[in-house]
Structure formats: C-alpha cells, structure tokens
C-alpha cells in the first residue's frame, strides 16, 4: 500500500496520525503497478505460494513471509495471542537459541522485523542478496521447529503489555480508535484490537500461543515474497530446498462471525484530561476489495481521494481553506481486508477558546456532512476525478521504487485472496472508474446508519 498523502500535508499528517495508528486504518491508498511490470509466482508441492519480484537496481533483497492468520482468527477470550506468537517466533527453535534469529540477521548486515494485523501475520528481513539463503533457511526453520519455554514467555508477555501501554493506553486517539472499532463491529472479530485487550492479554499462557502456531503456521497457509536482485529460478531452487520438505497441514477454513447489517448510527465520545486538541472522526461500514458489495471498492478508493486525499480535496478545501473552521480534514479507506472494512472521514477543528470544544466539533461535523451529502447527490466533477485517478495511477509507478513496498503490496493483496492479475490490472481499473461509479459508491456507503462517529474532548467542567 502506498499512502497517497500529498504535498503540503506535513502538519496535517502529524495531527491525523493519532487517528490512524492503531485504529488499523490507512490513508486513501493507491497501489498497483505500471503495466510493464508483473511479478512471477509459483507454488511448491506443499502448497507454499512463492512470489518473486525481480529488481536488479541494487544487490539487496527483501524476504517477506505472510501467514494467513491475524487477530480476527483468535479464539474467544484470547485476544492478542496472534501478536504474542509473532513476538515468540523470535524466541528460539530446536537449533537456534532464543533471541539468536535477529542477532544472526544483524551479524550478517541485515534488518528484520514482523507485524500482525487483523488478517495477517508477516515476517521480513532486508539483506544483501548473498544472504538470501541464510534468511530463507532461518525462516523455514521457525515455520516448524519453534521451541519455547515458560522462561522466555513470561518476560515477552510483559514486553507486549508495555507495547500496548505505549501505543494505545498512553494515546487518547488510539484509545478512541479502539473503542470505535469495538462499536462498529457488534459481532465480527474486527471489533477486537490486534494487540489484545489488557485483561485478556495478561492472562495468556504459552499453550495459547502454541495452539495458534500449530493450527495456522504451515506452508499451505503462507505466501513467501522475495523482492530484489534475484531470478525466479534461483528463488525456486532455494525455496524447494528450505521450504519444500515442510509438510502441509490440514487447514480448516477461517470461520468468522458475520457482521449483521448496521441499522443505526453510533457515537463514541472520549474525554481525557490530557486532551488539548479536540478531534472528530467518522467511519462507515464499507465493502473491501474481496468482501461485501466489492464492486464499489475501486470507486471508494477514488472517492477517498476526491473527498479527502490532499490539499485540493473537497474536505480540505471546504473546511480548511474556505470556511476556516478546521486545521485539517480528510478521508481514508483501506480496501485490503478479508471482511467488511471501513471508509473514514476526519476533521481537526482550529484551536479555539477553552469551553468551546463541543461547538467546534459540532461545526466541523455539520460541514463534513454537507460535503458528503453534496457528493452523494452530485458525484465528483470531471477535473477532480481526473486528478484523483492520475494520482492513484502514479502511486503505482512510485511504488515500484521501493523493494519493501513492493513486497508489502503483493503480500497484503494475495494474503486476502486477490490475484497477481488484480494487482497488475489495478491502474487500468482505477482509470476506468467513472463519476457515476463514485456517486453510486458514495450513495451506497456514506449513509448515517452505517456510521460510527468518534469525538475526542477534554473533560466537562465538573469532571476536571
């Protein structure tokens, strides 16, 4: 994914980020490739899908291994366990002692890390191309040979609780995002934060993590993406050597509770003594590129750009430039989720006198709603539509500049069931989106009854 935050957004970004981080949201994003590029792909007999992105510009390589398991696949009451397992994957195998994985990578001039979302868990290393064999051997090893003791589990669980305190509990905007998700999804597990609820996180046991490992970590539930100064044949040989011998497992379907239709607008208000800058955000339950009314997904991507993709967007122009009631305003949409996603809009009111915060939020809310209503009725104009599409298609070209970005783009799309054709054809399909498509998508998704509105405010007078 390539966030398409455009020029002049520096200050806004600083403000906006508080909303996006940990709410698990991304800015309106472009992805896809110029038509002259296509990754290679093949599968091993054990079901491991391998994707090769050849790029000979520099003698480096990125390896990413994506497992199709995320926090939305956790058993009830065990929130955070997929992410805890991700941490534990660095804690040793039969042959590699605890903590050595990253030390070996570093000793070989490499950098490594991992992340867990609601749908996927991914591990990656960036190394000189001569070290690809080493990191592939290590990554294959921990797919099957993880060996953990209670002695490494206890402190690592503490580390994860500190991660939660740092990213979520210390940050009012992150706490609001977490509450909004829990309200947007009544039943579907996207309601659960990937890092886990503190009450459940603290009670996790080593066996809970191992259960996820034994159920989901297998070659037939993974995608290996190699991007860099390699050839497909070279990758095929290495993958067969190191991943080939790992047997497939029976892989039960990912069953997740279906979210019932939302029939009423919902609202979450977070008041905190720390708050100096009130903020307003609204999300609408929306189709993703593979779930729900997915025919709207591309048009929603364009809509996010027209409505709130930069300093020439409707929301910025209307609220920030013309009405001067907001310091920042924009929209975001992440189509790359296995189940229903959200489309979001936000506004940060201009600083005003203490006590006027509620009025300020009400004013930006009314102004955002007016822009949305206008879009639902009229759709986008030709010039802004053309501009949005040009930028999104250009994002595909810019994306080719980063090895890690390319690996990320292929992995995240394929992990939710999209195909390489979907990625390659993306710019052409974006270019084919019409004003009528955008209007129809806005009409279908931007309905009050599908929304959750969030507000961040300082305490009321008597609560201080």
């Amino acid at each position: 994914m390539t966030p398409s935050v455009r020029g002049g957004m520096r200050f806004l970004r600083a403000i906006v980020f508080g909303f996006l981080v940990l709410a698990g949201l991304t800015l309106a994003g472009g992805r896809g490739l110029a038509a002259d590029f296509r990754a290679d792909s093949f599968s091993l007999k054990n079901g491991l899908q391998v994707v090769v992105i050849v790029d000979h510009r520099a003698p480096v390589v990125t390896q990413m291994l994506w497992y199709k398991v995320g926090s939305a696949d956790e058993p009830p009451g065990k929130s955070g366990v997929a992410h805890v397992l991700e941490h534990l994957m660095f804690k040793g195998t039969v042959t590699v002692p605890a903590g050595e994985f990253s030390r070996i990578v570093a000793r070989n001039g490499g950098r490594d890390n991992a992340f867990t979302s609601q749908d996927v868990t991914a591990y990656f290393q960036n190394v000189a191309v001569g070290r690809l064999e080493l990191v592939m051997r290590l990554e294959a090893d921990r797919m099957v040979n993880l060996q953990l003791t209670p002695a490494v589990f206890a402190p690592e669980l503490q580390v994860v609780t500190e991660e939660r305190r740092m990213r979520t509990e210390n940050q009012p905007a992150a706490r609001l995002g977490e509450q909004m998700n829990a309200v947007q999804y009544l039943v579907h597990p996207y309601r659960i934060p990937p890092v886990g609820w503190m009450s459940e996180l603290g009670a996790l046991q080593l066996d809970d993590a191992l259960a996820v490992y034994h159920r989901f970590y297998a070659p037939n539930n993974a995608i290996l993406v190699i991007a860099g100064d390699v050839t497909t044949e070279q990758v095929r040989g290495l993958a067969e050597t190191y991943f080939g011998p790992i047997p497939a497992r029976d892989m039960p379907a990912r069953t997740r509770a279906a979210e019932p239709p939302q029939t009423a607008a919902r609202r979450v208000v977070l008041r905190d003594r720390a708050v100096r800058q009130p903020r307003w955000v609204r999300t609408y339950l929306a189709p993703s590129s593979v779930a729900g009314e997915k025919q709207h997904a591309l048009a929603l991507t364009v809509l996010a750009d027209v409505l709130g993709g930069g300093t020439t967007s409707r929301l910025y122009k209307g609220l920030v430039v013309e009405q001067k009631i907001a310091a920042a305003a924009g929209a975001f949409y992440d189509p790359e989720r296995l189940d229903l996603t959200t489309f979001g809009v936000y506004a940060v009111p201009v600083p005003g006198p203490a006590g006027g915060e509620e009025k300020a939020l009400a004013a930006v809310e009314a102004a955002v709603e007016a822009e949305i209503d206008k879009m639902r009725v009229e759709g986008p104009g030709e010039a802004e539509l053309k501009r949005a599409k040009f930028n999104l298609v250009a994002a595909a070209t810019y994306a080719r500049d980063s090895l890690g970005g390319m690996a990320q783009m292929y992995g995240s799309a394929l992990a939710i069931g999209e195909t390489i054709d979907d990625i390659v054809d993306w710019p052409a399909r974006i270019d084919a989106v019409t004003a009528a498509d955008v209007k129809a998508a806005a009409g279908a998704v931007l309905q009050a009854r599908r929304s959750v509105t969030g507000e961040i405010l300082p305490p009321r007078g008597q609560d201080k």
Binding site: G7, R10, A128, M166, E169, F390
Partner: protein, 454 residues
C-alpha cells in the same frame, strides 16, 4: 509490531565547495553497492550529485540549505518551521490552491522541513512531468508569496499541531529534555516554537528568513532517478535562475550540554512513564565519530542485538522499546536515549540503564560484540540506498557533512578500523552514567526525586 524505529539522528552541514570537475564517477566495488554518483556542474554553475537510474520513470530531488531553527531570533521561535510550511502554499503567479492543484494534477510531491541546523526541500516526480515539477520547485524556493490567507491557515495548523503535542507524553518529554540539556542554547528550544511565538510571527519575519537562508552558496543538492546530466542541468538552471548568490552567515554559538546529572519528573496520569535520558555527545566531524557508532550499536542502537535490549527488554520485560543514539549538530552533539515502562517499574528501569552504561564505560566490549557490530554496520550500509528518495537523502547528508564524493566507498573502512582499545577509550570519554540528565513523564513510583530534581 515488534519494535519501533531507531532514535532520531540529525546530520550536520558542510560548506559547499565548488569543483571544476564536471563528472566524476564513483563505484563501490567492495560491497557491490552499485551506485554511480556523478558530480555535475550545471552550465549555470550549480553543483549537484546525480545518480542516474532509468528503471523506474521517477525522479527524486533532495536539497538542504544551511541554517535552521537554531537561527530563529529570540521570541520568534518556530520561524524556520513556519517557513517550511508555507513555501509550497503559493508562489510566483499562483495562489495557494492554484499552486497545489498544479502539483496535484501531475502527481508531483513537494515537501519542506526545518531542523535545528537546516532547511530541507524535497521533490518527487514522474519523469515525464519533470519540466513542470522543477519549475514549480524553483518558484517555491525563489518566489514564495506568503499570502495572508495561506499564512493564517498554516499558522492555525501549527497551533493545532502544538496543541496536539502538548497532550503527547513523548513530545512533552522531548521538549523538556532538550530544555534541560541546553537551557541557554538555541538547540534547547523547540523547533516548532510555542503558541505565543507562532502567533506573533509576521510575513516580514518569514520573508527575512527566506532571503537570509535560501541562496546558491548555501545549498547542497542530490538528484536520483530517470534523468541525465544534460537535462538536469537545463531544468535546474531554469528553476534556480535568480536565486540569490549568497546567504547570510550562520552564527550559532558552540553548544555544550549542561553538566551534572539531573532528574525532572513531569507528573501526568498515564499508565506508562516515558523516560528520556542523555548528556553531551560529539560532533559529526569528531575523530571518534565512527567509534561512537560502534559503541552505540553495542549499547543501545542495534535493534535486537544491543545490551540495553537484552537487559531491559529480553531479560526483564521492562519495556517494549529502549534505545540510544549519538545526535550530532553543527555546533555540538548529544547522547540521547529513551524507554517506556509502567509506572511501578520506572525505578528499576532507570537503575538497569544506568548500570549498563557504567558497565560499558568501565569494562569495554568483547571481541565478539565488536565483530558483530562491525559486520552489522558495514553489511547493512547498502540497505540505506534502497529507493531513489533514500539515496538522495544519503547523498545530501554526505554533502552536508562535507565527506566527499567517494565517501560511500570509504565509509565502511572507517568502521572496520575501529579497535577494541579505541572503544575502551571512547567509552570512557563519551559515557557518563552519573552525569545523565533524565526526564520522566508519567506517574513513576519509588524514584528518589528530591536529591536531584531541578
């Protein structure tokens, strides 16, 4: 996610030396870091480092002007930062919306930033939009308008960002720490100023900053991507024609961090305390710079491999993140570290960090640690050149620090040359556990504050 990114490291600045050589290729054979840096002198006399890379049809430009927020006059803190927010908000014949629309229609990305010692400008464009991209970039640098409505809007955005920062414990701690370590030096002031100073900045102040700083003798440029030297020369000369030849001299006093240990606790109702610590460091041109890189990697700069991560995170589970770094400035340098832990374990975390710094100062490093640090620091260097924008950023940093065109090929030999004896000496010189200045934001328990509080 498993760990946060590395700590902030600023780069210092060079004087631009005009060279007569037109094109000088440098290849880096040892690591096969295959970037071919050309030093191009345009017909108009502008010196620019170019890496041609025609695989992807994009161009990245990075420019750095010497002198930044440290030059903001007393009472005008936040000036450089506000200028950086306004250069692309209307220039030449175009008002803000017209300028932004012209960028947007062509997917041109332009950005400006202010650091303590520098003003940065960057441009990314599709190569078939380069003519207009360079033209608009030049307009922003030469003829920014500072129209009243744009100034008012950006001022509101900065005030909103300042308000937001006032609720972020990391930002609160960072501001307090810089003030603690540089109480009387401009480096100790927040680069984005305060609500009071930002409210007072005038268009005259903004214009003065531009005319003082944005000049030909005051900049370094790197360009990477789908463009050759000839076309670059034409576009750059056209863009920068009329830019003043000379900037005002940069006059920032020598910066020496406050001596003596200190502990400042800023009480906030938070479940986790944010801890920042450090003391004086060294400049980028210090002979011990490379030894400090190795030393810091072993102490707290090496992701998962550092002693602090092993002791604070892995063994004790005290923090998700703990790291240290040496931050050089043009006129000084700092040693800065940070961690975050729950309130009832702050005292323990502080004690462990202090003990580890003392252990390294007194006991030096093992052969294995030194070897591992070197293979990481040398082996990972090519990873810093993995996109056009990253390469351009590296190259302006090298020019800013006056390290020379072939620095990329020499850099790893400096790391290799660091010896165990040098590390032992440099640890004694640079690490002072008893002189650490600590700032803690949160509700820490069990700290002996009385003795050392400011």
């Amino acid at each position: 996610m498993k760990r946060p990114g590395a700590g902030p490291l600023a780069s210092p600045w060079p004087r631009v030396v005009a060279l007569l050589v037109l094109v000088l290729g440098v290849l880096v054979p040892r690591l096969a870091l295959a970037i071919d840096i050309q030093e191009v002198v345009t017909p108009g006399g502008i010196v620019v480092w170019l890496v041609e890379e025609h695989t992807v049809p994009i161009i990245a430009v990075d420019v750095v002007f010497r002198g930044g927020a440290a030059l903001d006059p007393e009472g005008q803190e936040g000036l450089a930062n506000m200028v950086s927010g306004l250069l692309d908000e209307g220039a030449g014949p175009y008002d803000s919306q017209t300028f932004q629309t012209r960028l947007d229609e062509r997917a041109i990305h332009m950005g400006f930033s202010a650091g303590r010692d520098r003003l940065g400008a960057s441009l990314a464009t599709l190569s078939d939009q380069a003519d207009e991209a360079f033209r608009l970039f030049g307009l922003a640098l030469r003829e920014a308008r500072f129209d009243a409505d744009a100034v008012a809007r950006i001022r509101r955005q900065i005030l909103a960002a300042l308000a937001r920062r006032a609720e972020d414990p990391n930002a609160i701690a960072g501001r307090a720490w810089f003030k603690s370590v540089y109480p009387d030096h401009p480096y100790g002031r927040p680069t984005s100023g305060s609500a009071e100073t930002v409210a007072k900045l005038t268009v005259g102040d903004l214009r003065r900053f531009v005319s003082d700083r944005i000049a030909k003798d005051n900049m370094v440029i790197a360009v990477v991507g789908d463009i050759d030297a000839e076309r670059l020369g034409t576009l750059l000369d056209r863009a920068l024609e009329g830019l003043p030849d000379q900037a005002q001299p940069v006059a920032v006093p020598k910066a020496v961090a406050a001596a003596g240990g200190a502990l400042t606790v800023i009480r906030r109702v938070l479940p986790q305390s944010v801890i920042i610590f450090g003391h004086d460091g060294l400049r980028r041109d210090d002979p011990d710079w490379y030894a400090s890189l190795v030393l810091n990697y072993i102490l707290g700069g090496g992701g998962f491999s550092s002693r602090l991560v092993a002791e604070v995170r892995e063994k004790r589970g005290l923090a998700y993140s703990v790291s240290t770094g040496f931050s050089p400035f043009t006129e000084g340098g700092l040693f800065i570290g940070s961690a975050g832990t729950r309130n009832d374990r702050v005292a323990e975390t502080v004690a462990v960090i202090k003990a580890e710094i003392a252990r390294l100062r007194d006991g030096g490093v093992s052969d294995r640690e030194l070897a591992d640090a070197k293979t990481y620091l040398t082996g990972s260097y090519p990873l810093s050149f993995s996109s056009s924008g990253a390469i351009a950023g590296q190259l302006v940093g090298i020019q800013f620090a006056q390290l020379g065109l072939n620095y990329v090929s020499r850099r790893n030999s400096y790391i290799e040359a660091v010896s165990k004896q040098q590390i032992a000496r440099v640890a004694q010189r640079l690490l002072h556990p008893e002189r650490l200045r600590w700032v803690i934001v949160g509700d820490p328990k069990g700290l002996d504050e009385g003795a050392k509080a400011d």
